[in-house]
Symmetry: C2
Subunit: 659 residues, 2 copies
């Protein structure tokens, strides 16, 4: 376990120099972490990480996650030094400026080699768990020849204090993800000062209690780092390597203090650091020999990639693995047949049940789905289509018992989707999107195909009461960029929404599904996926149109009853089903104007907050919703209690028409 | 440590009988947990819990939290049996029906004796930490004679798997909250089945690693329960008591299985359980002797309460402790003086800095505030007014270094507010409301005076980029019932908003504050707190009014510049500052109509999602906002990049006026 320290030290110092120079130039950023972890990262990239800078999309590459994303100059330095096409040195000079891919925190959509977006603490580690799960699953499916890599995570004290790390490591320990290794930047410093200000825990003992292998090293001793990594690789459990480091290592007066964490070091301190490190090159210059040594690290991976490509070319699995990694779907004819079957034999079921029926068609046809639930399998109806449990004993399984870990589940789903080759879906109650919201936002930002099966989507869940009844959740999720929120009204729409969700390569989807039974409204075969329009007419006015009712999900039957009552009095009413506002907003002007005419009273009906519906109804329209918390009672009592009945709604519409 | 098992067993069985009968009658609910923990709860309430059913508001009572809130029939049974005025047996008969205070999950606003709303797992335990913090603080302030009680929590496997429990116990262990005792219902069953499906962790070792005392007991052996509780009480650390229990204990064929968790047992199983338990009374009847034994448990507390009341009557602290526990504020003249000072000597500062200035006036005047930050003290500007750290060595301190635990902080704040006697405020970045959202919702639902100091409230935070820039957060929080979202535009409004927040006895507040400096707009002394109106005119149209600009927070100066440019071209423009939409919505019709006239073009300007603004602007208005994720660059570059400048906005308004 000896390393060539004389060669490695200047390489590590190149990271330090670039990090302090870039932060200084930007007058903003976090030099402390890259300088503290430079030695560890140098050993990792030189001796262990399997990567090919020329082929950042190599399916069998190791995944490297900088969970402590504020230390972004660490990964930008590494990508540049090892020879990735980007970032260029100009990109690094423009760290944290408009147009530079070197953003304040690493963004997966800006740079190849950045496996995921990090910065919200703890989530990188939790996404690493998902990547390691995907790796083991694809390994079980395609064999060691094609899939056999590790997931490496660099995490800071913050990542380890966040609650999500408890959920993530519990899952990883339980699933015995031995090919996951977390390098903990154990520097005892947080933004507020010494970590002792806020924590007294024995992190290593906690990880051991959770089924992890734990080893420590001196994070500034190359041989000791090497020893610890080798020990971690040899252990069958996931590993935590506690790397004892000095934050801002090299800064003569500030190292070891929170002063290096999140601010430029300053000209004088940088001059002192250069002297201490023996670094004489100009800012943003790396001496040729040091750069050559860094570029050479990529060659190891280049060879490995070549060997892998040879095995792949001769493998019967090539076409399938290529398809999966490209994110292309197989034929979805089975889902179309399922929809045709529903039209032929209508099913009045809860949309969560309809989702299960759709999954029974999808899962056999789409082998890349990996389902699961945060301990609500029987309620979310997520286990369908004959898939078996994904366990430490059988990684070929496709159903994850995530436990009571909503946030951890959502982050793992992101990690799986980012790894590629699988399409994750997972369930909990819609109200608990609150627990998972940090990861749902990263699904949207990272453009992952994560599908959230969120059941019990309104007061219709009944007796469990206000803590379990979503009110503001649909609005709060619709406000999030790049997320589809779909609330289907019946079994046909549910199947259509599932198809839309699967087809979103670059966008996550929330499926909001009812607990309670719903009549099937769509009884005719459609020539297209109507839900993909976002909104469409399910009933046209029988007489002169005065009213358009917009309705989503389980309130469809109340909308239709209201329309029928109004029609009986000579008032023409369109009923528009609106399973997805985002997709409706993407339709052309003519389509939207046809659905939302300017000469009718527009009424929205949804058993949820009315917040936001005015963008369709205007301020002169009518919004039927619930702007308080819910209540505990059977659903059949709650709906009328909160004004959801044709008897309560029709007079409001009439009143509005008459004024 | 011997107990009178012959007396206790029938008492525990009364809980079991009521629980299974109520769930059966409701045809919905969770019998397994109350039946499993009945023996433990019986020992706790008989021998340890300090409570007086006649005085549920007794300041020095022990706090009892049922973190596993789905087992609500446990607490309803206990409150009824021990003699609280409510629930009555009729209330229990109407478990989970409209109008009954016996909701599906315990709601603090429906029943005295329910210290907090539980159901969202893990949060009860985390609120217990806040209660224990408040107790130690008030003890340090008022002494052992007046404040000296414990916090007891019953938690299930779910509570211990949730990430928030990691944050909560880390804080409790660090702060050495030895008067907090968690009784863990260690039954190895979750909804999906055996806990082994999803977890392999050594929970006890994990708690020990986090600074907790851990002891185990047989949860069905009264003497052993008593022994464990005594041991926990004697230890100086917070304690976890692992109570080995059988879920649904007493149900002959279903006990020990997930079948008892969340569904009625059924008539036959209940009959078998009655036989097994030797319970012969009719449903919803408790034999007189057993009821008398239960009622006697309350007498112990009645005596203790009487002794406490005597000490209180003679204490010089009486008036102050009474005031604090009533939630009444002291004189806020210092804050008014601060505002007058700003008018006299305007301060062009970031609103986070303005918040610090307000706190410098508030904290000396309002001794019940307890501030803190989730490791962003210097960024949130939350430590002001000379308050010192709240630590294990000094519980008299009023500033909490929460660590990187946003969710745990928010839940602890709820616990403190619910305990009473303190007013908690805490900071993080606005974007990380996502991490704390589950607890923010419980602030709103529970009607707690929790004040969230959420800084870095837009793209104005600059270089940290999209992961740190709120976009949808303001909208998503405004959609939540019973929550004030306040985004002040300058130093005066910031102080006004702080005053409003302090005055909300039954409502939490989010203060959304800028990172970047803002000019002071309010330069004249106002006769009232204008921010309390929610919205008000800061500039009236100089010529015939054609446009009303609604603006919040840091975009004020852009709004004023836009208005001035339009006025220069003869277009009359009102500028309305709208720091709080919820308070504006509560104004009378005349006020709202005056601010939002129907004959003007209404324009909203906010550097955030436009979602929801149409309720004021209508569909014919103009919404200036950001409906994508942000970017990484200096704030001065980002604002124009996203269209926030008078140059970009004025032509859009002109265009709208001309069409």
């Amino acid at each position: 376990m000896t390393t060539d320290a004389a060669r490695l030290q200047p390489m590590a110092n190149a990271i330090r120099a670039l990090s302090m120079d870039a932060v200084q130039a930007a007058n903003s950023g976090h030099p402390g972490m890259p300088m503290g972890m430079a030695d560890v990262a140098t050993v990792l990239f030189n001796n262990h990480l399997k990567f090919d800078p020329a082929r950042p999309d190599w399916a069998d590459r190791d995944r490297f996650v900088l969970s402590a994303g504020h230390g972004s100059m660490l990964i930008y330095s590494l990508l540049h030094l090892t020879g990735y096409a980007r970032p260029t040195m100009d990109d690094i000079r423009n760290f944290r400026q408009i147009g530079s891919p070197c953003a304040g925190h690493p963004e997966n959509f800006l740079l190849e080699g950045v496996e995921c977006t990090t910065g919200p603490l703890g989530q990188g580690l939790a996404m690493g768990v998902g990547m390691a799960m995907a790796e083991r699953h694809l390994n079980a499916t395609f064999g060691d020849d094609l899939v056999d890599h590790r997931t490496w995570v660099i995490a800071g004290d913050g990542c380890l204090m966040e609650g999500i790390n408890h959920e993530a490591i519990g899952l990883a320990g339980h699933l015995k993800l031995g090919r996951m290794i977390v390098l903990w930047d154990d520097n005892n410093i947080t933004i507020d000062g010494s970590a002792d200000l806020s924590t007294s825990e024995d992190v290593k003992a906690r990880y051991e209690a959770t089924g992890w292998h734990v080893v420590s090293c001196d994070g500034h001793d190359f041989d000791d780092i090497e020893r610890a990594i080798e020990e971690a690789k040899a252990d069958g459990r996931p590993s935590l390597i506690a790397c004892k480091t000095v934050i801002g290592k090299g800064a003569p007066t500030k190292q070891g203090t929170s002063a290096t964490h999140g601010a430029p070091l300053g000209v004088d301190e940088i001059a002192g650091a250069r002297e201490a490190l023996g670094w004489t090159a100009e800012p943003f210059e790396v001496p040729a020999e040091i750069l050559a040594n860094w570029r050479a690290t990529g060659e190891r991976g280049s060879d490995a990639h070549g060997e892998w490509a040879g095995r792949m070319a001769n493998s019967p699995h090539k076409a399938e693995l290529d398809r999966r990694m490209a994110g292309d779907l197989p034929d979805l004819g089975a889902l179309d047949e399922h929809i045709a079957g529903l039209v032929a034999d209508p099913q009045g079921v809860a949309s969560r049940k309809a989702s299960e029926m759709a999954l029974a068609a999808i899962n056999p046809a789409v082998p890349e789905t990996i389902g699961g639930s945060a301990d609500l399998t029987g309620s979310n109806n997520t286990k369908a289509g004959g898939i078996e449990a994904f366990t430490a004993d059988d990684y070929a399984g496709r159903y994850v018992y995530y436990g009571i870990r909503e946030f951890g589940m959502a982050a793992a789903m992101n990690g799986m989707a980012l790894h590629g080759g699988v399409i994750p879906y997972g369930g909990t109650f819609l109200v608990f999107t609150d627990y998972a919201r940090g990861a749902i936002r990263l699904s949207a930002l990272q453009q992952t195909r994560a599908i959230y099966v969120m059941t019990h989507d309104s007061i219709g869940l009944g007796e469990d009461g206000p803590t379990h009844q979503p009110i503001e959740h649909l609005a709060s999720l619709r406000a999030m960029p790049n997320l589809l929120v779909m609330r289907p009204a019946d079994a046909v729409e549910t199947a259509e929404c599932w198809k839309v969700a699967l087809e979103q390569k670059d966008r996550p989807t929330i499926l909001a599904l009812s607990r309670q039974g719903l009549p099937q409204v769509r009884l005719d075969a459609a020539s297209e996926n109507m839900s993909a329009r976002g909104a469409y007419r399910v009933k046209s006015a029988g007489s002169d149109r005065k009213v358009v009712i917009l309705v989503t999900g389980s309130e469809m039957s109340i909308a239709i009853q209201s329309a029928e009552a109004l029609e009986a009095e000579g008032v023409g009413v369109d009923v528009v089903s609106m399973p997805c506002t985002e997709l409706f907003d993407e339709q052309d002007d003519a389509y939207r104007a046809d659905i939302l005419p300017s000469d009718a009273l527009i009424v929205s009906i949804e058993a949820a907050s009315t917040f936001g519906w005015q963008r369709y109804t205007g301020t002169d329209g009518l919004n039927i919703g619930i702007d308080t918390f819910g209540g505990s009672a059977p659903a059949k009592d709650l709906f009328p209690h909160f004004g959801f009945s044709a008897e309560a709604i029709v007079p409001q519409i009439q009143n509005k028409l008459n004024n």
